[in-house]
Symmetry: C2
Subunit: 162 residues, 2 copies
DNA sequence: CTGATTTACATGGTGAAACACCTATTTCCT
DNA sequence: AGGAAATAGGTGTTTCACCATGTAAATCAG
């Protein structure tokens, strides 16, 4: 369904604006599907699951909060409190970091690993269904275009910051 | 910059997962740029601006709350309260709807129109910069692929709802 | 025409997000 | 080594989003 139809926009759209809208809108679908199919059933938020995945992917020493943050999709995430909530559920734990006592190392627990494992298969199944609508070349192109857009947006953001 | 580099992911990514990640991540950049360059300076949220644009694009009779909602990018938006805040700032107003007295018509005010107009040029400038990184054919392809993805995700969501 | 259902919206309460601020520790500079 | 600056992350507060509930009006069924 075209964006204009979906959002009931009658006026013609500026081309760049259409791309931006398409990205925002498509992301809503992705996020919503993963929410409903994956996160809500386990009473996790997407960000909480993201933390679990990051910890699972890391070494067994765990990560500092800052190391988690820079791996998050959303860069302004309130990681300390995300970790608090996961810790309250026994999915992660904090332990002292002798090397730098300003921060503690966050590690995923056995219970956390089990939860992640339980969700992993469905996560992959959801992801793979994307492949049905895109050929290999298309996917490569799509990724390349998104990457170019990100690089451009990043440049603009840095220009703004000055 | 590649996703794996950006998020410091060492393991190889499932292709479908990479697409999903790319969408989520690229959207963050878009949202952040628009936030910083456009919305924050006017102390508006993206959703509030979205409402203003919708109302400006509509007829001068304004829209019912439900008509606004179905045009929002984020479909679960708390439109009544969004309108409340805009109304408190004098950017929109509600007036009675004789045809169906369950809801009121929300209209953009002169002040709201002025604000939207003030933001419009910068909005277009931001949007047009997207065009610098994509050729016309690429843009068309990108929009088509995103549309296919949305259609697929929508199908999956509907299947879930049953 | 009357009662039941649906629709449209508002609102109340809860939990999380966003902002800044604060403290402890480390690093850098001289 | 000693003090300034930077870094890490915890916390307080306000705002907002989200869920469920409530209410009024329209629609439908008989």
């Amino acid at each position: 369904m075209h964006i204009q139809e979906e959002l009931q926009i009658t006026k013609p759209l500026e081309p760049g604006h259409e791309v931006a809208l398409a990205l925002l809108l498509t992301r809503e679908y992705v996020a919503r599907l993963f929410d409903q199919a994956l996160y809500e059933p386990e009473d996790l938020s997407d960000q909480q699951f993201n933390v679990l995945r990051i910890l699972k992917g890391g070494g067994k020493d765990g990560y500092l909060v800052k190391d988690i943050r820079c791996r998050m999709i959303y860069r302004f995430a309130d990681v300390p409190r995300l970790v608090n909530r996961l810790e309250a559920r026994g999915l992660v734990k904090r332990c002292e970091n002798p090397a730098d006592r300003r921060g503690s190392r966050v590690q995923i627990t056995v219970k956390g690993l089990a939860l992640e494992a339980r969700m992993h298969d469905r996560h992959q199944a959801l992801s793979q269904q994307v492949d049905r609508c895109l050929s290999v070349e298309e996917r490569t192109q799509l990724l390349a275009m998104l990457e170019r857009l990100r690089d451009d947006y990043r440049t603009q953001l840095e220009a703004l910051a000055k």
